[in-house]
Symmetry: C2
Subunit: 500 residues, 2 copies
């Protein structure tokens, strides 16, 4: 047994998303790639999640080409992506033919480690992804969404870890997107997983620094046997982002644990990123702060910001506390899904509608589908009255099967469509179209113009939230209406009509 | 044995100094006093250190009156001050008659806990202060300045703690002003003090969040038996400030340790302070960041900022790395005093002179006095060549006695002077004059105008550093010259002349 603690660096993807709400231009990152590649990281997280859509929509940049570029610039270190299970890198379920093809192509283009999660912690939604990763000969990391609730306990998370391992996962990630993982819980959870799944089970912990306490949680996770932790270089850390990589290295000194990281290289990366960060100043809405109040409402910072923004847009900022409280009610009614994408946004929007228009008097189609099991099954029980309203609203019944089992294989159709829409004929383009049809179609037409310099984009084009037009009117229209709601840089369609 | 962890809140004094470089107006603090007083804190740090001079000089505010106001607003909780040993709240040694009278009056006006430190860790400089505190029937907390060096080890700090205890101190504080205290060192140091001084010795840990790692250090200190920790409410925390109070509370959950703090009251304090903080935005130079590079150069953030500012003022910002390195050389030559006030500023200025004018070709009188023992004795050995130059420059010999033993009692003289300068006849006014003769004389004349609203002050009047005029000229004048150098809001006189 070695006491080495491995580190996944988040600078190249999630740290940018959490703190800048945009992507740093590749030209600003190229100078640090050699140091990153030689610093001794276990992996460099650089792709997937919201970044796929952001590349396409705001930077006019082929996400696949970006991945290939990273692979060239970072030949030695594992590249890691965030895969949303059956949602891949979007907000809705895809059939297994799309999931499988996406993973195959991501592996071929350079991804070594696939972290796969499902906001409902429904392991059936991780299965196709994990199997495809194993088929591609890559590292499948299955993630638990850590979001405590009356039905989500250390014991239930440990059981979930066991199920994720049984899928064939090479490692288990405890994924805490809100900074809610307290030190003792981190210790107990990692210890529990090691005891249940075997001491040789590789455990990774991902957390955010939002609440100010999670570097301590990483220390406790490490004491319990955690193998890999996620951090971000200190020039792009803290706040709603992550714990600083260099602080982690200093934390371990003399404790009997150590990272393999080269502090001199980390220091050079920090200096460079600190130098370029001011170029992105106008993209960052929030000054770095610490928000221990997240423990009170347990709502992700990004969702709170979204709600604030939308309520401000309608001159009803005084309703924020009420909406925050209602988010917890709606989460309970829906059987306590984790407030991770896409469940976080579905629940947030429904909570706002409840406050503005009366409790479940307008139900979004996404929320109805969530209630009816079309995103998967939650661990908690659903409210039967709300379930009935949802069934009535969608005019369909609840399901308990794996939702993707209801979907027809669509790969060939998407491929044909992509060719018709002006793709370059690659499978990668067809997958891009499958993920984001509108953005992909636009991108195929503008691809030759080349990528935009993020720092020169107007703030309006930065890929953040827009006011929710639906909520502006006083009265809810009697007929159903569909709105395009852009959240964290991704558009999704929200259809509302009165529940009765 | 209870597992209660006590907390000292820094919001009312040091958190303001570390993050805003000014003082928050009393009117902005009054609304949180009831919650602070009832939240369950062990003490509220609210007076002393740089705040005394800042009140007087920038806010036209009687520091003694401010203390009495806090006492009225905060009747239940211990009020705490920072006493710089024989330097009291200024930058030079005072005789024991002044130290004794100051402590007596501070106790009468409301202080319960006196944290006393000396930058050289010369316990003889703590003696008069601790004795005066005991005589006043108050809590004497003796502090170790934690600043690692080849001569400062865990064992030597533990020995120092024992000496501080033997002075009659009621508790021992490990005071880390730069965030250099790593988790394992925190554990070993607290454990060592408990073993050497007895398990019932009350130990307090004060640290800054500069390097991003010190909340973990507080956890480890607590595991080793630390009784009291210092934190700041989350709306005025992190960066070069302190770890957030609410994060500490969350950190302890389920660990077998707990604070006595009322989270609802903390939340109300946070909301209010977050609301008023933007009024002071222009006083804060630095965005909140994390600076693990402090471990490399071990230089306090305030001193680095000072050096940056002064080098920028002379268009020599490229010399910063060289000055930073030279600070460590000068610190070594001076026998490794801690880089705490006033030694930090004396060493920083000398290092800059060395870089600009050649190594010890101009020696400040303060640095010469530091070398010659007029601030006390350091644990490390001094460089004999530099010592000789210092003796030559001052035309006096090195001493090894307690420096204050050389000073005549001056209390009666100061008292008479204060009356002549327009004081209100109180002993408090005489002490104010003793501390800062120029600022006090001005204040006595403008007192009736009332205090200024900090937030309305121009940034120039905020009490931060000014360019060092002495360093502007290319050539060093052959004759000695004296400059007023203002650092962290306090003026001190720096006299330079060529060493030969």
């Amino acid at each position: 047994m070695t006491n080495t603690v491995e580190v996944t660096e988040l600078l190249l993807r999630e740290a940018q998303q959490s703190l800048l709400e945009t992507s740093i231009a590749l030209d600003d990152l190229i100078p640090v790639c050699e140091d990153l590649d030689n610093a001794g990281y276990w992996s460099l997280e650089c792709w997937g999640g919201t970044a796929f859509h952001s590349s396409l929509r705001f930077l006019n940049e082929d996400p696949w080409e970006k991945l290939r570029t990273y692979r060239k610039l970072l030949p030695k270190t594992r590249l890691q992506m965030l895969l949303r299970g059956q949602n891949v890198v979007a907000h809705r379920n895809f059939d297994d033919s799309i999931v499988g093809r996406f993973v195959e192509k991501a592996a071929l283009n350079g991804i070594d480690v696939f972290r796969t999660y499902d906001a409902l912690n429904d392991v059936r939604n991780l299965k196709a992804g994990v199997q495809a990763v194993k088929k591609a000969g890559k590292h499948a990391q299955g993630a638990i969404c850590y979001n405590p609730s009356p039905t989500d306990t250390i014991a239930s998370f440990v059981d979930l870890a066991q199920q994720i391992k049984e899928l064939g996962s090479d490692s288990i990630c405890v994924q805490d997107v809100d900074g809610l993982l307290k030190p003792q819980a981190a210790f107990d959870l990692v210890k529990g997983i090691k005891q249940k799944c075997g001491n040789d089970t590789v455990v990774s912990v991902h957390t955010h620094s939002t609440t100010g306490v999670t570097l301590v949680s990483l220390m406790k996770a490490i004491e319990a046997g955690c193998d890999i932790v996620d951090t971000a270089i200190s020039a792009l850390a803290l706040g709603r982002g992550h714990n600083p990589t260099e602080s982690l290295v200093a934390m371990l000194e003399g404790t009997g644990f150590e990272s393999r990281l080269d502090v001199e290289r980390l220091h050079r990366v920090k200096r460079h990123i600190a130098g370029v960060r001011p170029r992105y100043r106008e993209f960052s809405d929030q000054p770095i702060a610490v928000e221990p109040e997240t423990f009170r409402h347990q709502i992700p910072a990004a969702l709170m910001l979204n709600m604030e923004y939308q309520l401000d847009g309608q001159s009803t900022p005084h309703l924020l506390d009420e909406v925050a409280e209602e988010i917890q009610n709606v989460r309970r009614d829906a059987g306590y899904p984790a407030l991770a994408i896409p469940a976080s946004e579905i629940i947030g929007t429904q909570a706002m509608f409840n406050v503005l228009h009366g409790k479940y008097s307008a139900i979004t189609s996404e929320f109805a589908d969530l209630m009816l099991g079309y995103y998967g099954t939650t661990a908690g029980k659903k409210d039967q009255g709300v379930l009935a309203k949802a069934a009535n609203r969608q005019n369909k019944t609840a399901i308990s099967c794996r939702p993707a089992d209801l979907l027809e294989p669509s790969w060939e159709t998407r491929r044909t469509e992509a060719l018709a829409q002006g793709s370059n004929g690659s499978d990668e383009d067809a997958l891009t179209l499958a993920m984001f049809p509108n953005a992909a179609t636009r991108f195929f037409q503008t691809r030759t113009a080349g990528s935009r310099d993020t720092a020169k984009l107007a703030p309006e084009a930065r890929g953040t939230i827009e006011p929710l037009k639906a909520a502006r009117g006083e009265a809810v229209p009697a007929e159903s209406r569909t709105y395009i709601v852009k959240v964290s840089g991704e558009e999704h369609s929200v259809t509302v009509r009165p529940a009765q």
